[in-house]
Amino acid sequence: MKEDYLVLENLTKVFGSGKNTVTAVDNVNLRVRKGELVTLLGPSGCGKTTTLRMIAGFEFPTSGKIFIEDKEISTVPPSQRPTTMVFQNYALFPHMTVFENIAYGLRIRREAEKNIREKTEKIINLVGLKGLSERSPAHLSGGQQQRVSLARSLIMEPKVLLLDEPLSNLDAKLRVSTRLEIRKLQQRVGITSVYVTHDQEEAMTLSDRVVIMNTGKIQQIGTPQEIYAHPVNYFVADFIGKANFLEGRVVGMISKNKVEVDVKNKKYEVFTLKDSFSEGEKIFLLIRPESIELENKKPNALTGIVRQLIYLGSRMIYEIEVDKDHLTVEITNPQEHKTFSPGEEVSINFKKKSLHIIPYEEI
């Protein structure tokens, strides 16, 4: 597998001039491997779409460079780039049939009509649009339009496939099934893809690696597991999944990647990605709701008072007050556990392997 198939180097995009400048993308560095699907994930306005549009060539970087297979393409016009894009609103040509839409790029490339026909029919079958090739896009369902859009991009055999929130116009159920299809198709074709979304679940299920962005900057790059289990900062931890943050202090390093911390006068040994913390440094202890167990009150344990409980069938959600902090606790399979009632005092157990610390930030 080649390491650096698509490379973004110090990519920056500034919009506007004078007083009203906005730095949409701020010094982004990213290396995408061949055949990999990388998701750009972040809240709206984080610069993910602008980054994608720079890869496609619709925006030119203010500074920085873009390479595909070691060839710099930063200023190559979009029509000459080996990338194709699946648009958020699909951007199907309304005056052309499904077939014509999909064949459009090949016709522009002046391939032989026989080739075009073969390839187009093949891809129409691949994406499951058989029998619809003479329809106009207006007479297709949202999911079908989405497939046409995907087929139109795939047929060009681009070096990099770009997807700009392709599922956001579908209803929830269709979104789930389509994203699995996209993933399967992407793996089958083995196409290098950059996928933009603001839906973390989508990012988690689809991606080989996830790039978390905020205010134009990359916060973290990693596999879905890394991102969830070992977020590097408050933003990532808070953005991905639910998280409880407890303020604490570093007691000392135990070994590399292992540190002892003091939280609410209790000592914990915690794994960390950052290999140096100074003694006495303020940190956040991060505990996911599902990594907490509740027990009857015991001496010497961390205790709290149940404030609220919500029964969701497969899960029970507790809101526990600890000093002035609130913890959200999620108990799966609640039938197997004791149910505590509001006002009850409980002792709180953290599952050791799931603990994680991140640098302290003023919130």
Binding site: P78, M85, Q88, N89, A91, P94, Y104, G105, I108
Partner: protein, 569 residues
């Protein structure tokens, strides 16, 4: 339940709803009465008159259409003129719209304002300028004669030039809206798939704009053949329907023949209108929502840039030349004889034209607010309410878009010079006939801006109001009206402009007591008093600009960032 039963239930249901709101019910009845009396009835009168000769039913007028030169020649001429103007005007309008939405043309605002300027000026001013420039003693005539030999500006050629300048802006506005509404992602997708600039244009932009181009063409076609002012001034021996109908009625007192010519004029405009409305617009791929999508602007190759920019500069230059000529002409002592610069025309204009000006201002000021409110209310009923006859109401109010002023004018003198069951008063010779004519002729402007802005407002906002206990009228007053206020005022602005610059219909209903400045200007042109006519036209343009400025100020104050809606047609 069968279809008929369901239908009956629906109707009774609608009726029940309306019955619960008597005020709404009365308003609907009143509006129907007005539309019937002041829109449908006059047109019916024209048709009826064309079928009577010497008070006897006689269809020989229609039998003569293909055999008598005085019918088919003007018809043919009008068609030729309409087709030429529409074609050239649409091309110019498209190039302008393309330049403003897709290229990096500098000074876009300047070009847009210049290109739309002819819309707010009285139509025949362009013809007047053409005479001042290229007429028998025109400023440029000696130079042009040296180059192309003897020529005459009077006739088809001159008319095409003049009407293109006057109506290309209409095409521009339509196409500007269309090109702005085409989703830039489509062009990006095409480019993304490897298409060059020219390919993007020929495979995406142009096909998507085609219905818009057809619409623009048909609208200019309608305006061109319905135009009265320009042909009156510059058509020479080239006879067109609108002018011939006018001459038959005011010169020969042949109401029957005049009405027949008016009907001949009405048929193609109506056809074009319905083709546009019910055929072309259904084929449109883009919906003009009034919300610009921020069309993609990128670097354009020089071989596109050079001709497009040249066309824009040349057309803008021509507009400046023509209107500049009006300024220059208005300052000459005696046109063609003594070109010493003087202000005496303005003095004379105020002595002679003061009364006309006051009449025009008075009548327009009375008519404009009524036009605006009526138009908005109609738009509200059409878009938001369900009642029996809603389709008919929409149809009649649409109809007024397409009916040439000449037909309306003739209709009004035929309908209101005697008492009738519908309207037991005689209006002819009064101020009221001019006011009602202005109201109902310009009402479409208000309806259009109303519909456009209502469609952008989520009905749930109004539903919330009714949900909280307000009836339709209160909802309209307290919720809808404030939201559409900017559109309302820009509708007002355009109604005022149209009232002040109207000529084709009002020329039939003016009287000794109540006259209008546009009619007076035409009179000056008729008597070869070009300098005075120019001075008066300029004053009129100036007044219109001031009025627009005032209304713009109001809109800016009340409309928080709301877009004014451009009105076409």
């Amino acid at each position: 339940m069968t279809g008929t039963q369901r239908k009956i239930r629906e109707i009774t249901e609608q009726f029940r709803l309306i019955w619960k709101e008597p005020l709404l019910f009365i308003s609907i009845l009143a509006i129907f009465y007005f539309l019937l009396t002041f829109v449908a009835f006059p047109i019916f009168q024209v048709f009826k008159t064309s079928l009577y000769i010497n008070n006897k039913l006689d269809i020989s007028n229609y039998l003569a259409i293909f055999s008598k030169r005085y019918y088919f020649q003007p018809f043919l001429n009008s068609m030729i003129l309409g087709v030429c103007t529409a074609t050239i005007g649409t091309i110019v309008g498209f190039i302008f719209a393309y330049a403003l939405t897709r290229t990096t043309l500098p000074f876009k605002n300047f070009f847009r304002m210049t290109a739309t300027f002819p819309i707010i000026s009285p139509p025949f001013v362009v013809a007047l300028a053409a005479i001042l420039l290229f007429g028998r003693s025109g400023s440029l005539t000696p130079y042009l004669t040296k180059i192309i030999g003897r020529y005459s500006i009077y006739g088809l050629g001159g008319l095409i030039i003049v009407e293109t300048i006057a109506y290309a802006p209409t095409a521009f506005l339509v196409l500007y809206g269309i090109l702005q509404a085409i989703d830039p992602a489509l062009e990006e997708a095409s480019m993304d798939l490897g298409a060059s600039d020219i390919k993007v244009f020929s495979t995406i932009t142009l096909p998507l704009a085609t219905p818009g181009i057809a619409s623009a063409w048909l609208l200019v076609f309608i305006q061109s053949i319905a135009d009265f002012g320009n042909p009156m001034v510059i058509s020479g021996d080239f006879r067109v329907l609108s002018v011939q109908a006018f001459l038959q009625i005011t010169g020969m007192y042949d109401l029957s023949r005049g009405s027949t010519l008016a009907i001949l004029l009405l048929l193609p405009t109506l056809t074009a209108f319905f083709v546009q409305k019910y055929w072309v617009s259904k084929r449109s791929y883009v919906t003009v929502t009034g919300k610009p999508t921020g069309a993609m602007i990128k670097k354009i190759e020089w071989y596109i840039k050079v001709p497009v920019y040249t066309c824009c500069v040349v057309f803008t230059g021509i507009i400046f030349l023509f209107y500049g000529m009006i300024v220059y002409g208005s300052l000459q002592t005696l046109w063609g004889v003594d070109s010493t610069l003087t202000l005496k025309n303005y003095v004379e204009m105020f002595q002679v034209g003061k009364d006309y000006l006051i009449d025009s201002l008075t009548l327009s000021t009375v008519a404009t607010p009524v036009t605006g409110i009526l138009g908005m209310f109609l738009a509200f009923l059409i878009i938001r309410k369900k009642f029996m006859g809603r389709g008919l109401m929409e149809f009649i109010s649409m109809l007024t878009f397409a009916v040439p002023g000449t037909v309306v004018g003739i209709g009004y003198i035929l309908a209101f010079n005697q008492k009738s069951v519908l309207f037991p008063f005689i209006l002819t010779g009064t101020a009221w006939i001019i006011i009602t004519l202005l109201i109902f002729r310009n009402m479409p402007v208000g309806i259009r801006s109303g519909i456009a802005s209502l469609q952008q407002i989520d009905p749930s906002i109004e539903e919330a109001s009714t949900d909280l206990g307000a009836d339709s009228n209160i909802t309209f007053r307290r919720v809808t009206l404030p939201m559409i206020a900017p559109a309302f005022f820009s509708g007002l602005a355009y109604s005022f402009v149209k009232a002040m610059t109207a000529i084709s219909a009002v020329i039939f209903v003016v009287s000794g007591k109540w006259n209008l400045i546009t009619v007076a200007i035409l009179g000056f042109v008729d008597n070869f008093k070009y300098a005075q006519a120019a001075a008066m036209s300029l004053t009129l343009i100036f007044i219109v600009l001031i009025a627009l400025g005032i209304i713009q100020l109001i809109v800016n104050r009340i409309g928080k960032g709301a877009r004014t809606i451009e009105i076409v047609g």
